[in-house]
Amino acid sequence: MADDQSAIAKRLETQIDIILITAIVFAIAGATAFVMAVTMGDWEYWVDWKDRRFWPLVPIGMLMVIPAALSSTFWVKFRLPFAFTAIVLCYSAVRWLSTYLNFHIFGGFPISFVWPSVYIPMAILVDCSLLITRSVFLTGLTGAFLWGALIYPANWPMLAAFHEPINYNGEMLTAADLLGYEYIRTSLPEYIRVVERSILRTFGDAVTPLTAVFAGFLCTVVFYLSWIIGAIVNDHRRWLKKV
C-alpha cells in the first residue's frame, strides 16, 4: 500500500509541476519583456541605441530586477539556483519572437537593425556564483557585478561591426548611426536618441571600461534591493484579514 501511495503521490505531484511550471514560464517571459519594453525599450530595439555609455548600463541594470527578486523565492524556498538563467532564457525567446514578428515583419526593419542583446552568459554566471558560494552576499559581490560588467564583451561579436567609424559626406559617424539615419523612425527623431551624451564623443579611450565597472556596481546594488523586495513580497504566510 505504501508503494501505491507513493506512486499516486508522484503522479499528482508531476501533474502539479507541469501546470505550475507552465504558468511560471508564461509569467516570467511576459512580465520581463513588458517591464524592459516600457523602461528601457529603445536601447534594446535599435542597434544605433546600443552605444557605450547608456546601453551597457541601463538595460542590464533594469533586467536585474525580476530575476533577483524571484531568485529569493527560487533559492530560499526551493534551493534552486537557476532563476537568472531560466528568466533570461524565457525573456530572450520572447524578445526574438517579438523582434521577428513586430519589428522585422510588421514594422519592416531589417533584423540587423533590431536584434536583441545577449544576456544568457551573464545569467549563467550569477547562478553559478550562487551555486558555488551558497551566499547571497557573495553572489551580489561577484555574480551581480559580472552581470553588469560583461554585457559589452558578451555582445561584442555582434556589435563590433556596427561601431566601425564611417566618413559620410565629410561627417564621421558609426555604421549603426548611418543605419539609424537611413531607416527613418517617424516617432523617434534624432534629438531624443539618448546615446553617447557627454562632454566628449570619441571612438577610443576608456569609455566602455568605465561604464562596465559602474554597471557592475549598479547591478550589485540592484541585486540586493531586488532580493529584499522579492523576499518581502513573496512571503506566502502574509494573509490579510481585511482589505
Binding site: 499528482l12 511576459g30 519572437l97 516617432s187 506566502h236
Partner: protein
C-alpha cells in the same frame, strides 16, 4: 475569450465523494484553454498585420471604421463577459468552506492554476506580441490619432482580458479554496493587481502624448508607470510557494486515501 471562461469553470470542479474518483489534472481541458487563447489572440494579431497599414492609418478617415467596429464589439463583449464570470463564480461559490473534501480542494487548486496560466499567457501577448507591435507601429506611422489599430488590441482587448483572468483567479480562490475564504493572500492580490494599477498610467500616457510628448521613445518617464504590470508579477512567486505548500499537504492525504480504497 468565451472559450476561456466556459471551460475554466468546469475544470475538475465536480464535488466528488471522497476517494470515489481519481484526482488529477484534466489535460484535455487545460490544453484546450491555452490553445483557445493562443488561437484568438493570434487571429487578432494576424488581423492587425493585414489591416493596420492599409485601413488603420488615420482615425478620421472613413475606412478606419473597420477598427472602430472591432473596438465597439470588444467594449461590449468583454465587460459583459467579465460580469457574467463574476456572477457565475459567486452564484456557484462554496457555501461550506470548512467542510471541503481534500480531493475536491485539490481539484480546485488545479483549476486555480489553470486560471493563473491563462492570466500569465495573456501577459505574454500584452507584454510582447501586441505591446511591442505597438512600439514598432509608432516608429513607422506617426502617432496622430486618438485610436490606433495596435491600441484597439492592446488597451481594449488584452488589458480587459488580463483583468478578467486576474480578477477571475482571485474570485475563484475566494469562493472555492477554504484557506482563502476568510482572508486574503497578499502575494495573490499584488500579482493580479498589476492590470488595474496601470489604469492611471493609461490615462496619463494618452493625455501626455496628446499635449506635451508627441514622440514615442519607449523607455521614457511617461511609460514608466506601465512597468507596474510586470513588476507586480514578481509576487507570483509567493502564490507558487503557497500552492506548493498546500498541494503537498493535500496530495499526502489524497494519495493515502486512494491507495487505501484502491482507486
Amino acid at each position: 475569450m468565451s472559450t476561456t471562461t466556459a471551460e475554466l469553470s468546469v475544470l475538475n470542479e465536480e464535488k466528488t465523494v471522497a476517494g470515489a474518483q481519481r484526482a488529477g489534472v484534466n489535460f484535455t481541458i487545460y490544453l484546450s484553454l491555452l490553445a483557445g487563447l493562443i488561437i484568438v489572440y493570434s487571429l487578432h494579431r494576424l488581423f492587425l498585420h493585414a489591416n493596420a497599414h492599409t485601413v488603420g492609418l488615420d482615425y478620421f478617415e472613413p475606412e478606419f471604421q473597420v477598427w472602430m467596429n472591432l473596438f465597439y464589439v470588444q467594449i461590449v463583449v468583454l465587460p459583459t463577459l467579465m460580469a457574467g464570470i463574476a456572477y457565475y463564480l459567486w452564484r456557484t461559490r462554496e457555501l461550506n468552506p470548512d467542510n471541503v473534501a481534500p480531493e475536491v480542494e485539490l481539484s480546485r487548486y488545479f483549476s486555480f492554476i489553470a486560471w493563473l496560466s491563462c492570466y500569465t499567457l495573456i501577459v505574454i501577448f500584452a507584454g510582447a506580441v501586441h505591446g511591442e507591435a505597438d512600439a514598432a507601429w509608432h516608429q513607422v506611422v506617426i502617432r496622430d490619432t486618438d485610436f490606433t489599430p495596435t491600441h484597439v488590441g492592446l488597451f481594449y482587448l488584452l488589458m480587459p482580458a488580463l483583468i478578467i483572468t486576474g480578477g477571475g483567479s482571485y474570485i475563484f480562490a475566494k469562493t472555492r479554496l477554504p484557506m482563502h475564504a476568510k482572508q486574503h493572500l497578499l502575494p495573490l492580490g499584488v500579482a493580479i493587481g498589476g492590470p488595474i494599477l496601470i489604469m492611471p498610467n493609461v490615462g496619463l500616457n494618452e493625455w501626455g502624448h496628446t499635449f506635451f510628448y508627441a514622440e514615442e521613445m519607449f523607455g521614457t518617464p511617461i511609460h514608466y508607470g506601465f512597468a507596474i504590470l510586470g513588476l507586480a508579477l514578481i509576487a507570483l512567486g509567493g502564490v507558487v510557494v503557497h500552492i506548493v505548500h498546500r498541494c503537498k499537504e493535500l496530495v499526502d492525504i489524497v494519495s493515502e486515501r486512494e491507495a487505501r480504497q484502491g482507486v
